[in-house]
Symmetry: C2
């Protein structure tokens, strides 16, 4: 009576894989100067997106991504059964206020930078189970994130080399029946905490969660890294990416040949001043919808494992000396079923 | 091929309704002096729950509720497929840090005070679809909420009569196969914003969302209020409860005979100094698990509509003059299927 086969405790294989009906990526000015500049559906030169505050800008950015994805698919918002999303702002107000304007039934998530994978996990469950159409989406904004998590921009705070740059960007994926690729399998993440307390070193904190999820997914599916055209992490950055490769190698799993990190792809790490790379919910979301899914549509990639990573800390838990619990959910996309 | 019948855009009726396998409620000192004092599984006299900070206390409270629910059901945490939860703290750290210690695959939600219904919505979808066991849970803590949303306790800020008192409490529900009652139907909420900007008047802000969800649920199901033994809102408080009854009456729906609000049930509004009543994710969660579900287990209630309400604002959106978007998800419980 189930609509999926349970390959392990938290890896599910869908009997009727939902498909990516349409998708869109919207990015800010700095992302528009990076390697993926030409891949985004829209690059906005004004980081305020025509709004008066950074928070309203982030909300506008998110709405733009959802509306563009719906437009590209020729779908009316009334035809969407549910919008599943979240963001980094306190109380997830960027997506909440946009959901108000979109008037679509709404499930709010909080998974930090893992949110794109978490929303795809939930949306693919619902569509595979019988809904017609669900939108999975998320966003982040450099300026609202800096203000909330670190310092006001005007302060000009210094950043250590391990720090990452929150992406101003949003990505939206419409899951339904029809279109490509398919979401064939998903693995729900478990929180892993390697004990790191430096909030400027998220890559190191999140890498073990990525490795845990990838290992569990591969084992449940019975696959090797080479069975995938590409494996993508969300936003481990330059440092976290190296740690992930090394950690998996210790377990006899070599992903070095076909692995990339969205945080390393969205900026030119040699020329753009972003230290260890991109981060934020919008990082993996906008790379997925500007690069990965288009590559699958043109069959340049046919089987992909997408594992967005999230650090579930807050400024207050850091102040209280807590370490950084991290999580990664894995979504397996395939152009054929 | 679907595991549910879609009664409307967002009301689903399960073919194999998941059941409430076990549940638990844990509460703080003030709640332990209220009308439900004897109903909680545990009342803690120390609001710090043995921890050093209010935030760690909230996390401990949440963990206690989940562990107690698992213990009561004789379930090991390894047997739980997924924990679905969220809380009011920035970045949902109360539940995130507890999920780290529980080592259960985790989906984090943010639905403000609607979280208990949202987590039940997601958990019932997953269990009805084929998972063995999912835990839906949430919590709130008066002291961490006051500190984050309003003033430090030491400041002794005054509160207007429309304000509500954040419940120190947590509730956890284990959904699986076996046990009672069943989750038979669910309705996903839509954001409704009546334009209220006073963050001390959440009841008025949330009442229209509750009414919208109840109306849509009743219409989709083809039911009248009298078909339910009781209809419960999450935390509209004294004022919001009255508004909800009046608003639905305008639409020809009379719920006055069999309707109660969890925020009005958890405290003695005449004797305890809580102004308009209880609020917070833990309010509806602890009333559900201390009163509603036990009443269903003993067949004093047989068909219940539980619609937790959430106000999706943040202190910053209030400062920026925004109104309060609200949401309510409805869960229909039944002792027979």
């Amino acid at each position: 009576m189930s609509f999926f086969t349970k390959l392990s405790r938290s890896t599910l294989q869908f009997h009727n894989p939902p498909s990516v009906f349409s998708f869109a990526a919207v990015a800010g000015p700095k992302e528009g100067q990076g390697p993926l500049a030409k891949c985004f559906d829209r690059v906005e030169s004004d980081a305020y997106f025509g709004q008066k505050t950074w928070e309203k800008a982030e909300s506008a950015l998110f709405k733009e991504a959802v509306v563009t994805a719906l437009d590209k698919g020729g779908i009316k918002s009334n035809d969407v059964d549910v919008l599943i999303s979240g963001d980094l702002l306190n109380q997830c107000t960027a997506t909440g206020y946009a959901a108000r304007d979109l008037a679509i039934p709404y499930l709010g998530l909080y998974g930090a930078c893992s949110t794109m994978a978490e929303s795809l996990f939930c949306a693919s469950m619902l569509v595979s189970g019988g809904l017609n159409c669900a939108v999975a989406a998320t966003c982040s904004h450099f300026c609202s994130a800096e203000k909330q998590y670190r310092f006001p921009l005007e302060y000009g705070g210094q950043r250590p080399p391990t720090s990452q740059w929150t992406v101003t960007g949003a990505g939206a994926v419409v899951l339904g029946k029809g279109g490509s690729p398919f979401v064939t399998r998903v693995t729900c993440g478990k929180i892993i905490d390697p004990g790191i307390t430096d909030a400027n070193n998220m890559g190191a904190a999140m890498a073990p969660a990525f490795c845990d999820t990838v290992k569990r997914h591969l084992k449940a599916v019975g696959a090797k890294p080479g069975d995938y055209d590409m494996i993508f992490s969300g936003d481990l950055g330059k440092l976290g990416k190296k740690i992930a490769v090394d950690l998996l190698k210790e377990d006899g799993i070599d992903i070095s040949e076909n692995y990339e990190d969205c945080g390393c792809m969205i900026y030119d790490l040699n020329k753009q001043d972003v230290h260890s790379g991109g981060s934020g919910c919008g990082c993996s979301a906008s790379v997925l919808t500007s690069y990965i899914l288009p590559q699958m549509r043109t069959l340049k990639l046919n089987r992909v494992l997408f594992a967005a990573t999230g650090a579930l800390l807050s400024p207050l838990t850091t102040q209280q000396g807590e370490s950084i619990p991290s999580i990664a959910h894995a979504i397996e996309f395939s152009t054929s079923i």
